[in-house]
């Protein structure tokens, strides 16, 4: 628990606020009463209100740092193995990495039938990276924020995948790839697919176009929001369980049991969500490659 004067809802809101760096608009009254000068100011946000006032011109420093950090960890780990990889008897971390690579490779082979050198490494990156980001969920919710609070950083969300920016950022990246390959592989066929499906008559072109575009846009949105929703809900439950610890010793014991139970269940969830994100990426790209 952070301060003693905090209420439960303040505690929860505090935990759901990102460390945000951004541009406050001119004339905004800050928390400490000062007014932002003309032309705005790039500052660390103090609290959710200031972060909201920053609008699009802001960046979640914690999400970005953890996300990139974990991405670099992934690259470091797998690059190390790639350098050591040889045809001899594998051992230790080599086994683990090769198991993951083989698993991803098999999944891609089963689902994706086109020829594309990008899909398998893309799937591997997504699977491991998303898994690592989800894995942060298993750290006690107060551990890192409290430690960072001691050195003066007051907001910290350490699970990047509970930030819609992160999940939607990846989903949009995949959406761009989908569009790119649809146009590259199908060419004009992509337009035909959008306009003459499911009713193959020129009268229905507007209806078809509307339905297909909605269907197309739903893919990245569902992809990003599914991961975000699952992780956000999971994180929320961890926070609620953590809040129970403040309700006295009588609550602490069941809260501990709940914490352990939910954490064990969550091991399944984080792996499953990473896997689903990967498989859907492969499926969407596979659909983009299929010419009807």
């Amino acid at each position: 628990m952070a301060g003693e004067t905090q209420t439960i809802s303040e505690y929860i809101v505090h935990h759901l606020t990102n460390l945000t760096y951004g541009k406050l608009p001119a004339g905004f009254e800050r928390e400490d009463g000062s007014i932002v000068a003309d032309g705005g100011a790039w500052v660390m946000a103090h609290g959710g209100e200031e972060a909201a006032a920053m609008g699009f011109n802001a960046i979640h420093v914690d999400s970005m740092a953890w996300s990139i950090g974990l991405g670099i960890f992934f690259c470091w780990l797998f690059r190390g193995v790639a350098k050591k990889a040889q045809a001899g008897v594998p051992s230790g971390v080599l086994n683990l990495v090769e198991m993951v690579v083989e698993f991803v490779d098999n999944t891609v082979r089963d689902t994706f039938h086109g020829k594309n050198k990008l899909v398998a490494p893309l799937a591997l990156t997504i699977f491991v990276w998303v898994f690592l980001m989800n894995l942060m969920d298993l750290l006690p919710v107060d551990l890192i924020p409290t430690l960072l609070g001691l050195v003066g950083v007051h907001y910290q969300k350490i699970v990047p995948s509970t930030d819609p920016n992160i999940t939607m950022g990846m989903a949009l990246g995949i959406f761009i790839l989908m569009l790119y390959y649809s146009i590259k592989v199908k060419g004009f066929g992509f337009v035909r697919e959008l306009t003459l499906n499911p009713f193959n008559h020129w009268i229905f072109i507007p209806v078809n176009l509307f339905m297909e575009v909605v269907g197309l846009l739903a893919k990245p949105f569902s992809l990003g929001l599914r991961l975000f929703g699952n992780m956000y809900a999971g994180e929320m439950i961890f926070i609620l369980i953590a809040a129970l610890f403040s309700a006295g010793l009588a609550w602490a014991v069941p809260a501990g049991l709940l914490q352990v139970g939910w954490a064990i269940f969550h091991i399944l969830v984080i792996t499953l969500q990473a896997f689903i994100f990967m498989v859907l990426t492969i499926v969407y790209l596979s659909m983009a490659h299929e010419d009807h």
């Binding site: 699009f56 992934f74 690259c75 690579v101 490494p121 591997l124 950022g169």
Partner: protein, 156 residues
């Protein structure tokens, strides 16, 4: 829960990591795994071949053993034959020797007998003359009766 520049930042990071993975991570690991798979397949094939070879070698060994046995039997056979032949030859030689020894003994006996007869012959003359002298009480002229005595002796 604000959508902001983090979205763009994450997209850029995403692209970077995917490119890194595609260039420096995926190919070497997959290549190593493929190489290992090939190696294992080769090893299995070699093991198969080796067991096949072993089977062949066993068959060959059995065959060789059979041949060797046959050969040994043939050698024993021929040795036996040769042995009996040698015994036969020795028998023959012994028989011949026996004949020869017998013949020479016979010849010697004959010679001895002849010699004894000659001796007897020469003494017959003297004895008969001495007997006749005694009977007649007179000296007989050996020269006058020599011819008669010779004749007598020759009759013996």
């Amino acid at each position: 829960m604000n959508i902001n520049l983090t979205l763009i930042g994450q997209m850029i990071a995403f692209v970077c990591f995917v490119v890194f993975c595609m260039k420096y991570v995926w190919p070497p690991i997959i290549a190593a795994m493929q190489e290992r798979a090939d190696k294992i397949a080769d090893g299995l094939a070699a093991a198969d071949r080796a067991s096949h070879d072993l089977e062949l070698a066993k068959e060959k060994a059995v065959e060789r053993l059979k041949e060797a046995k046959e050969e040994a039997a043939a050698i024993v056979d021929s040795a036996n034959k040769r042995g009996s032949q040698l015994v036969e030859e020795a028998k023959q030689a012994a028989l011949v020797e026996v004949q020869r020894v017998k013949a020479s003994a016979q010849a010697e006996i004959e010679q001895e007998a002849n010699r004894a007869r000659e001796q007897l012959r020469s003494q017959v003359a003297v004895l008969s003359l001495a007997g006749a002298e005694k009977i007649l009480g007179a000296t007989i002229d050996p020269k006058a009766h020599a011819e008669m005595v010779e004749k007598l002796a020759a009759e013996l």
